[in-house]
């Protein structure tokens, strides 16, 4: 009886081709990094503005909605200095405004999305200069700010989780797109890793559209979740990237060769020196990564005392043994001296 039940189960699992006929609606959650300082830098270097990027994103959201009438979108912003991370579309009822009237020749929902997104971002950015001034005015302004990309992603995952739990919406497939501009130093390592594992577990693909400096963490995020990581070299053509390479529906992923980077830098960074290393030592208690053996033989993170014998063993340099041992009487103990120790 078990065997029969088993077979029926595995067959329906291993044959995804049948399911693909059906067009399942999907949710597209977008996280936009609007770090004002970084945008300023990028505007100078590559002559692309946040405005252009936001309008490209709106086009993407609208085209996603137009594909299927039950498709959903959500837009989050991150790294806003005054507000951190927050959801800006769809807003909860309290902040809904009714002033977006019908525009002739335009799908009403598009008008609504455009209006509410543009309004909110504009409002936020108008508030930013004051906050920025305050922050920069301080001695160590940077110390008071942390990146909130992980927070925005966490919120999006909570939302997606709720959808997966709910009865009427559970057919909705979801994916996450991150438009990032800041570098890895703004990402809190443990939190980002936690969001990556959560999305992996929930089978949510994380696509990354990277402007500005490239990011190892986000690259790993895309790789772990079967997402697409694209480094944008020509931001003028952003809309093209967003509506092609980054527009792959979750249901198509199993049959499409993803336009993503194959070689990925998986090296780790040392907890003490922050150097990127490919061979290191790992504390067996807290799993922190060290590039050197600490002098006091204690873990710098969890203060566990390391085994002295083992440390001396690890510190030992490799020895080169002579190819052929001569007569025991002739060969003295120094015959196996290491070249390094000489």
């Amino acid at each position: 009886m078990d065997a029969i039940a088993d077979r029926a189960f595995t067959e329906s699992q291993t044959n995804p081709a049948h399911k693909l006929v059906d067009e399942t609606p999907s949710l597209l959650a977008v996280v936009v990094d609007i770090n004002p300082l970084e945008w300023r830098k990028l505007e100078k270097e590559q002559s692309v503005s946040l405005k252009q990027v936001v309008s490209s994103i709106i086009v993407m959201l609208n085209s996603h909605l137009s594909l299927n009438s039950s498709n959903h979108v959500a837009l989050y912003i991150a790294n806003s200095y005054s507000h951190g991370a927050q959801l800006i579309y769809p807003r909860t009822e309290s902040s809904k405004s009714t002033r977006f009237l019908h525009t002739p020749g335009m799908y009403r929902q598009f008008r609504f999305i455009d209006g509410s997104i543009v309004d909110t971002i504009e409002h936020l950015l108008n508030e930013q200069p004051d906050t920025l001034l305050q922050l920069i005015g301080r001695e160590q302004g940077k110390q008071h700010i942390k990146g909130t990309l992980a927070g925005a992603m966490s919120m999006a995952l909570c939302h997606i989780n709720k959808i997966q739990q709910s009865d009427e919406l559970n057919a909705l497939k979801s994916r996450l797109l991150v438009v990032s501009i800041s570098d890895d130093s703004t990402l809190p390592y443990v939190s980002v890793m936690n969001t990556i594992f959560a999305s992996q577990k929930m089978k949510i693909s994380v696509d990354v559209c990277k402007l500005g400096p490239s990011s190892t963490f986000l690259q790993q995020a895309a790789d772990a979740t079967n997402g697409v990581y694209i480094y944008i070299t020509q931001p003028e053509g952003l809309i093209q990237y967003l509506t092609t390479a980054l527009f792959i529906d979750p249901m198509l992923r199993p049959i499409i060769v993803l336009p993503t980077d194959e070689s990925i830098d998986f090296r780790a960074s040392c907890f003490i020196t922050n150097k990127v290393i490919d061979v290191g030592y790992v504390c067996s208690v807290c799993l922190c990564i060290l590039s050197v053996i600490p002098e006091d033989e204690k873990c710098p993170t969890c203060h566990s005392k390391f085994d002295h014998n083992l440390i001396t063993k690890l510190k030992r340099k490799p020895k080169v043994l002579p190819l052929k041992k001569k007569d025991k009487e002739l060969g003295d103990k120094n015959g196996t001296a290491t070249p390094e120790s000489a």
């Binding site: 009886m1 078990d2 088993d6 991150a78 951190g84 991370a85 927050q86 769809p90 909860t92 009822e93 110390q143 008071h144 700010i145 942390k146 990146g147 909130t148 992980a150 927070g151 925005a152 966490s154 919120m155 995952l157 909570c158 989780n161 709720k162 809190p188 443990v190 890793m193 936690n194 969001t195 959560a198 790993q220 772990a224 194959e262 070689s263 990925i264 998986f266 090296r267 780790a268 290393i277 490919d278 061979v279 290191g280 030592y281 790992v282 067996s284 208690v285 799993l287 990564i289 053996i293 873990c299 969890c302 566990s304 005392k305 390391f306 085994d307 002295h308 083992l310 440390i311 690890l314």
Partner: protein, 428 residues
């Protein structure tokens, strides 16, 4: 919490209080009406539900649903934990496993739980290793070798579904096999055995007490999940191999969901006990390599399986190619892992604080869940307040943001970050 029959104190703590002659039920064992919990009548959840004055049961049902979800609340005090684990899973395959007290029978429930356990185990302990042994016909049979690849174990478990449980179980034979399997495990790894024991007896070829002594000497920790009742030999086994800590190591299943929960408890790495950390002369530092992934246009041979594969990972030490991680480089013996594998265990070490339930009141500061933006129920006036009303808000103590129960469970079980704290650009 007395509304839920499943919260009734379990009979498994009886060994602590058995000086009481069993005439009167000790406090810890009392059910709702003063008798032993297991003498209590089973209270169905639909008996508890009553309509409120508006004739709606919605608020009460949602309260009940929330209390069910609250189960995950565990002790989350940070510990030093043995993160790099080696575990042998011992499954009872004797004829008692054909009993139908679980549906369809014990053995199929056990196997489905075990399959889920394997997935979860490697998800949370990516650099650990597992092996599976079954007790059948008085002997121990190896189902899967010690390995770090979950698919091997899941395949093996699916294969033994066809096998019919038979004969008597032999705990001693199984434990001896575990000793053999754990013999070569490096000193920085934990040595654990998890036994699923359905029978009330064991038929052994020799003296099992000697085997227990050997296990203690070899620092092997044994945990047992009993399916029927407590067995003295398992008690001794757990007490001896867990430094006297019987409460966390020996459990008896009360109902089907409990079985799964006990299984899942074993996923969390064991805390390094005080006794252990004092005894040890120090912890180990393990040398590891973090290889980079390469992609080639032509397949090349990997050094681990000698198969031609596209792409792979290059050992930073000896430049040989391996196809799966984590692994030990077959050429230079360096442990190769991804830094993401390590990061996956970090939440055991930096656990997220539990959220506090906001007390019921007339007015609340929040109207929507910070995570999923679901609307919260409005405040309740004191006059209409009922026993099962809840505020449905769970607050993070650091950022003071409120979350719904679904998000709370999700955040603590899957995400392990507080979205509220992470979304705040100020450093807390």
């Amino acid at each position: 919490m007395d509304l839920d029959p499943e919260f009734a104190p379990s009979p498994e703590h009886s060994e602590d209080e058995n000086n009481d002659d069993g005439k009167k039920a000790p406090d810890a064992l009392k059910g709702a009406n003063g008798a032993y919990a297991w003498e209590d009548q089973y209270r169905r959840s639909w008996d508890i539900v009553q309509e409120d004055e508006s004739g709606s049961i919605e608020s009460i049902v949602s309260g009940l649903v929330e209390s069910q979800k609250k189960r995950y609340m565990k002790n989350i005090t940070p510990f030093q934990r043995g993160i790099i684990r080696t575990m042998v899973l011992v499954l009872d395959f004797s004829n008692v496993m054909m009993e139908k007290d679980f549906r369809p029978n014990r053995v199929s429930v056990m196997i489905s739980n075990a399959i889920e356990f394997v997935g979860e185990f490697f998800d949370q302990n990516p650099i650990s290793q597992l092996s599976i042994v079954i007790m059948r016909n008085g002997v121990a049979q190896l189902v899967s070798e010690v390995s770090g690849n979950p698919h091997d174990h899941i395949e093996a478990l699916k294969n033994i579904r066809k096998l019919e449980p038979q004969g008597y179980p032999s705990l001693q034979n199984a434990l001896e096999m575990c000793r053999g399997l754990l013999l070569h495990v490096a000193s920085h790894c934990t040595r654990e055995v998890l036994v699923i024991f359905g029978a009330l007896f064991t038929s052994d070829p020799g003296n099992i007490h000697k085997t227990i002594q050997d296990l203690v000497r070899e620092k092997i920790t044994v945990r047992v999940i009993g399916l029927t009742a407590q067995v003295a030999v398992c008690q001794e086994l757990c007490r001896m191999t867990n430094y006297g800590d019987l409460k966390n190591s020996y459990h008896v299943v009360l109902y089907e969901q409990h079985f799964k929960e006990l299984f899942m408890d074993a996923v969390t790495p064991l805390a390094v006990t005080k006794v252990e950390s004092q005894k040890k002369d120090g912890f180990t530092l393990v040398k590891m390599g973090f290889p980079s992934r390469v992609s080639d246009n032509q397949p090349t041979f990997c050094s681990c399986h000698s198969k031609a594969v596209y792409g792979g990972y290059i050992c930073p030490n000896c430049k040989s190619k391996v196809c799966v991680l984590p692994t030990v480089c077959p050429c230079c013996d360096l442990m190769l892992i991804l830094s993401t594998h390590l990061a996956r265990s970090y939440h055991h070490l930096f656990p997220l604080k539990l959220f506090q339930e906001v007390p019921v009141s007339e007015e609340y500061s929040s109207s929507h869940c910070f995570g999923c933006q679901t609307q919260f129920p409005p405040g309740v006036a004191p006059s209409t307040r009922r026993e099962y009303h809840t505020s449905s808000r769970y607050r993070c103590q650091d950022c003071a943001k409120d979350f719904c129960i679904d998000c709370d469970v999700f955040i603590h079980e899957v995400l392990h970050n507080c979205p509220g704290c992470e979304a705040d650009s100020r450093k807390l």
